[in-house]
Amino acid sequence: MHMSDALVSAPIALGADAIAATLLAISIRKIYRQERLSIPLMGVLGAFVFAAQMINFAIPGTGSSGHIIGGILLSSMLGAWGGFFTLCSVIVLQCLLFADGGLLALGCNALNMAAFSCLVAYPLIFKPLYRADCSTLKLFSASILANIAAFLMGAIAVTLETTLSGVSALPLGRMLLFMLPIHFVIGICEGVATALVILFVRRRDPELFLHDQRQSSPRRTIEAFAIAAFIIAASFTLVASSAPDGLEWSIENVLQGELPSPTSELHTSAELILQKTAIIPDYNTFLAGIIGCAILIFATWLISLLSKRVRGDESQS
């Protein structure tokens, strides 16, 4: 889960560090403005999440086990910025205390593991759906959808970061094909795990989990589901369409040279292997174009939605 320094080149790592540092600075300002947020609570919950990551659950159906990251869980108690802040502190300490994740790669790890879950998936998907008295079904769907979205975004980010660093041996599209289904499943697991914990705890301390003060409405529910659906669909569409190759092409143009990659020989051999096992057959350019358009339309709608939400939140606080 944690990226080591070997996985990212210096410019990418530093770029991610800068973005993460900016987000952290913003979160601190937001925390100071929120009176409800208690410093001891963030400290102790950080320690809690750190410890909780050390105990594994069995993933049913497979022989393996996993653990949660806890982004959505933290945010459900501390809010988006509080959750991000706290999870970042955990990531930094994991690097310092256990060399879990590289020092330069801290920014990447903060973005991949904390930013997408706390700052995107939580406010857009989980928060609108969760109510203190909401049904178990709603709790589970909110948690699972939010976590799937968060992990998919994280997977895309990791792929981009390693590809742009020239460390990935696979072309972008094929790597996504590999990463996304895995993270989809991981998202479900963490979604279920998070929901189970919230279910257990809210019986004893319902006030612990923040909920929207506004009335729950069908429109808000649909919006949340739509955003989740969009993120999930767009992620997989990214693989199926010409977008990844287009992305590589545009990156190459921007960098004015070849995308840094170990070798074309390896790409070819990896491609050969994957083509034999690929579920998605070679794309149709026409279809790709349609999907590309759909993504553009969705993106526009999402941006308008986000700006409405930001304005709505400001008027609430």
Binding site: F50, A99, T263
Partner: protein, 259 residues
Amino acid sequence: MSRSLDKILFELEQVAQGHSSGLASTIDPRARTLVAIIFLFGLLSISLNDIGRIAIWALPLIFLALLCRVNYLSLLSRSLIVLPFVALIGLFDILHEREVVATLLGIRITQGWIMALAIMLRAIISVQAILLLILSTGINPICRALQGLGLPSLFVLQLMMVYRFLIIMIRQLQELMRAADSRSAAKSHYPLSLWAHLVGELLLRAVGRAKVINQAMKARLWDGRVPIFNDKSCWRWRETIFMILSITGIALMRYINLK
């Protein structure tokens, strides 16, 4: 984390304060942290073809470990933990860079193997550098140093609090796990429902503790703002000399032409 919780607790308890003694212990944590960061930058910027140069970077760590009375071998063994992940990346290099660059004892060594070895060496040396910094300086002094270097106070306080209560949380987790294990076979992982009970119980205790800490802070007239730390560290000639020597040494290691 597959290591047992006991081992983790032991490692955590070791790093509260620094262990260094002698001359090394007098150097301000800020200088040490800066040098460590510069060291890492230098190390990670070395091209993977230059394996000889990479290997040299272990030497100052061995020397510093001796100076700080830290066991280098334990640093080495702890740093090996990153190898599995890094080896995967090295594997790609082995597969693709087939150009033979040397022959040793009749075995043809390809560029790929050199790069793979370089990547692994670079990874474990960088981990050793971080571990050495933490063991010789201590996590709390390092957090203070980071604050002195510009990290916001609230985040520094958060880091120190997470560290402070992590040991307590792990102990409580152990208690909960032992209670669960004594009623069933001890496992390394739990079925989801039991897992959720354990984590949920831990969460409730954490929240309860946070409430009492809040009360304890208010009882001592805390007004909710970040406490001001008394900065006892000072930057003397010693630190400046240390910085100059270190940066010079690092630059030499990075750029000097060995041939």
